[in-house]
Symmetry: C2
Subunit: 584 residues, 2 copies
């Protein structure tokens, strides 16, 4: 990535121009940005400056394109990057973007893995890298058990901060990977696994730079001198925080969170279930105990291969390159001592409390024939960690990266494409969803790796499609597979709660009740708040008036649809023919 | 209230015209409304048709003005009323309102007592009485423990419905009075007392008629055929529900809620504390146990006189007409066997669980010298109910109207003006707030009736100013008192979470961080979503462009401020002189 000093030497034709912006304007904008943030904090990107694939490791993320690109590597390519150091700088950058019509794509840290990483939806956007310099824990209250964070604070960093600054009594709640941004995850409505796992519910107060550069604080933060910005969510009048999630209406520069005080005790547990067909009974039980306040958090119901992949690649288990079948999966389950479904959960509180919970939890799940349970043991010296030992950490808010393991299931350059439909937390729906995905995965030649999670009341089905991004045919199959699944799901009343960049338009058009009332409403807000359409155009399928209907939407074409149906029907495992037939 | 048939016989000069609307236009609009909903469901109001005060009982609420009027009775007077029977009719009404520029003031049931009842903020608005005909429980899921309601479903009605239709396992959560709308309360971000007490948090999914007449569903409701509208709150993309609370951006015609399944056991309790000065220690303890997940709900910390007023009027206790002093309050506390502060709480779950909780709860509060505790006993035949017995019902989701009792503390035509600041849940802040209010109440001649409630993390201070609405002097003192308190509170960083119609502008201007960024943002949304400014103008201080700056705002004038300070300083108890000096 050439630093901004080299901008003059870069030929016009290699610049990644956003719509309506000339090379001259882009150069001028980048130079002006450098004046705001310092030239060290601006980058210019070209196709040539993209990182080679073998550098594309999680610890050295590219910020100009999607690490796990599913379309072409340069489809969602940024024209540059700017890293502000303060809210005031963000505001100035936004005003400048309005002047030059340069679209900005804000990322907190940019680890939205499986959904696009830090890549912009609209090619040529400048990545607004908030986290690089705005990464401070601004406040922690041990009295109120709250914190106020900048976007660059990762789960690792927050945990470290609390440990090192006398706040050991405060737990955090992290998702499966600890390197992401606490703010960014909550803004994308992500989740973790302690009783504070639903991250948006547990946020309290925002500072937002609006698309015109105005700075606003929400909730009690809009009262000068307020002492409850991080304790009371709402404030007075319309409560806007939700419209700044999964959206392009504002840039969140500070965000408050509630933290769980040490619950006075903790115990994780694992139930393993022998049969693929046990899924409905498990889900029914989790729902009842979860809504009944016996289970205090969101346990995960993982299938065999997700655990297997955490331990090692497919080649450790089999020479087969085809999707594994029942008997093969049974064999693996036996080998690694997990179930066809494994329930990883935890109890929070003093032992006498947990004993009472455990009585009910154990009695409930042990009713399922063949069920077994165990508790996590300390990791012995030199021993490989079990998935239970890994989950034991995650479930108590110790950030980690264990789950990166399964990315490499079929390839050392393994990539992830997330598919995350929501359904009722019923056995019937869990099974229907599972079968639906299994069928498509078999058709398109992928192993099913997935997990079911009961949130407050709903079932999150997290399907982890792993693929080799350096294999164009595999990328295309992966793309078609998820495209088909989004339609499959919608036809049954299931909708994803988030999606990869390349499906944002398809998914937005699936949420079409009332003649597309929701998308129209979102567009109306967009046009009012961002009249020049500079902030994250296309995010969640919401395009600004200036760019709407100009062909930037990635909708699923009828042609594509019939083509993919045809392929799915006739040639489920012929990779070569799909690769040669499909154009992305 | 003359039915619409008499419209022709009503002289122009008695019609209550909204701004920019001629008598002819209003007549035409009312006649057109009758065509949409049927003439039985439209009313026209005049000053003459206002209900006399002695009819202004809670069970027979006026819908054309505030039952508990604090300014003049006709200040917030509606020009008419329309009662739609369906979302489609609401949509047609809204389109018509746009045509005639007639403002609509939607109410669910209209029992926003203490904050304006069903009266419109802008004189001449037509009350959109949603609840009168749209009052069905549309769906209950015993599997998911959810329901879908129309705005007219009261807490009483929901409870009855569940009891009579085989859903006895599902509890509801009601605020202090059971006659209000479940939907309306949640939209105003009200609260109750079970673990599901924070009503907006516990809602799931809305149907909204936008100010242009478009109909939208939020969350998963925007996916056609969705089966998770009432189980997953967010859907995909920007999450808008919050901007339809305390707002004038849309009319909620259906709303989903989560219901708590029978927790398997229940026990309410009362701790009484002898000393006025015990408040800080109580609040500190509640916060720690609440955030520590030992206390599962929001207990109330009530002062002596609130309990006393629940039992009977002031004249039952004393002949004094002045604000009661410490020794007098002590005497009353002894007489009715409550504390200077009384903590009413409950535990939810099977007995062994509750026993563990109780151990901690008891040990904590009994540390405060002089503390006592008791459990509710069954009400004996012919015996008067104790406040503990009343709270025992409220805390387990049995709707009731016991708390109406204290309205009549000083007058049989007692009225209520609510003042509800939010503060940190600390002993220091609780005491500071209490002293702040006490001082003003003494100055303006009122007894302090109040309660402190710890929500998720914040402290709600609910101050119940009771006054005799038929006494103009008393109304004026009440008005000035709260006006002063809003400023007092803001100066210390405390802000109210809701307020009466007559303080909406004052309070909105207190939330002024960043040069009024929040109000500007709200106005921008308003202008985009409601270009003609027909929906609830002035609600929460948000005026549409058409009506902004034309003198409809009720801001606190400097003149008034100095006047009130002068009076407060010099003549704290001289009612007559205040009455003759103040003009409203």
């Amino acid at each position: 990535m050439p630093p901004i000093e080299h901008l003059a030497s870069i030929p016009d034709e290699t610049l990644i121009l956003p719509p309506d912006v000339s090379a001259t304007a882009l150069r001028e904008a980048l130079n002006q940005l450098a004046k705001i943030v310092g030239s060290n904090n601006v980058q210019v990107h070209t196709k040539e400056s993209m990182k080679p694939d073998d550098e594309g490791h999680y610890y050295n993320l590219p910020k100009e394109h999607d690490l796990f690109y599913i379309l072409e590597k340069d489809t969602f390519l940024a024209s540059g990057l700017v890293a502000p150091g303060s809210t005031e700088e963000v505001s100035q950058i936004v005003k400048l973007a309005n002047k030059y019509l340069v679209p900005l794509w804000p990322v907190s840290i940019g680890r939205n893995l499986g959904y696009g990483g830090s890549a912009p939806r609209l090619r040529g956007s400048i990545v607004l890298d908030l986290g690089a310099r705005m990464n401070k824990v601004l406040d922690v209250s041990v009295r109120d058990c709250t914190c106020l964070l900048e976007p660059g604070v990762s789960y690792f960093a927050l945990h470290d901060y609390l440990q090192k600054n006398g706040f050991k009594n405060l737990w955090i709640d992290n998702p499966d990977l600890g390197g992401g941004s606490v703010v960014g995850n909550a803004l994308d409505r992500g989740a973790g696994y302690t009783p504070y796992g639903e991250h948006f519910s547990m946020h309290c107060g925002m500072e937002v730079v609006l698309p015109t550069g105005e700075v606003m604080r929400t909730g009690m933060g809009s009262l000068p001198g307020s002492n409850t910005w991080q304790t009371f969510q709402y404030g007075y009048g319309p409560y806007p925080d939700g419209i700044f999630t999964q959206s392009n209406y504002g840039i969140v520069t500070k965000m408050g969170f509630w933290l769980m005080p040490d619950p006075g005790g903790y115990q994780s547990y694992l139930f393993t279930f022998q049969n693929d067909s046990d899924l409905p009974a498990i889900v029914e039980s989790v729902r009842i105990l979860r809504i009944g306040m016996v289970i205090q958090n969101s346990p995960t119901i993982r299938n065999t291969l997700l655990d297997a992949a955490t331990y090692g690649p497919k080649s450790d288990y089999t020479t087969s390159e085809k999707p594994l079948q029942d008997s093969e999966i049974d064999e693996i389950a036996n080998k690694i001592k997990v179930g066809r479904w494994s329930l990883y959960g935890a109890m929070y509180g003093p032992k006498p409390m947990r004993d009472l919970q455990w009585e009910t939890i154990k009695a409930t799940f042990m009713k399922i024939p063949g069920a077994k349970y165990e508790f996590a043991q300390p990791v012995a010296e030199g021993e490989k960690m079990s998935v239970l030992q890994m989950r034991d950490e995650t479930l108590r808010g110790l950030p980690n990266t264990y789950e990166l393991g399964w990315l490499n299931w079929t390839s050392p350059r393994g990539s992830l494409l997330g598919f995350s439909p929501i359904s009722p937390a019923s056995g019937f729906d869990a099974n229907k969803q599972y079968q639906m995905v299994l069928k498509r995965f078999q058709e398109f030649g992928f192993d099913y790796l997935g997990t079911f999670i009961v949130g407050w009341r709903e079932l999150h089905h997290i399907v982890c499609l792993t693929f080799d991004k350096t294999n164009p045919s595999e990328r295309k199959r992966a793309h078609r597979c998820i495209e088909a699944l989004i339609d499959d799901a919608a036809a049954e009343g299931y909708g994803e709660y988030r999606t990869h960049l390349c499906y944002m338009d398809q998914l937005a058009s699936a949420y079409s009740w009332g003649n597309g009332a929701s998308l129209k409403f979102n567009e109306q807000l967009k046009d009012s708040l961002d009249p020049n359409g500079i902030l994250a155009p296309g995010k969640s399928g919401v395009w600004p008036a200036r760019l709407r209907g100009r062909g930037f939407e990635l909708k699923r074409s009828t042609e594509r649809k019939s083509e993919s149906t045809m392929i799915a029907k006739n040639q489920p495992s012929n990779r070569r023919s799909i690769s040669s037939h499909l154009k992305l």
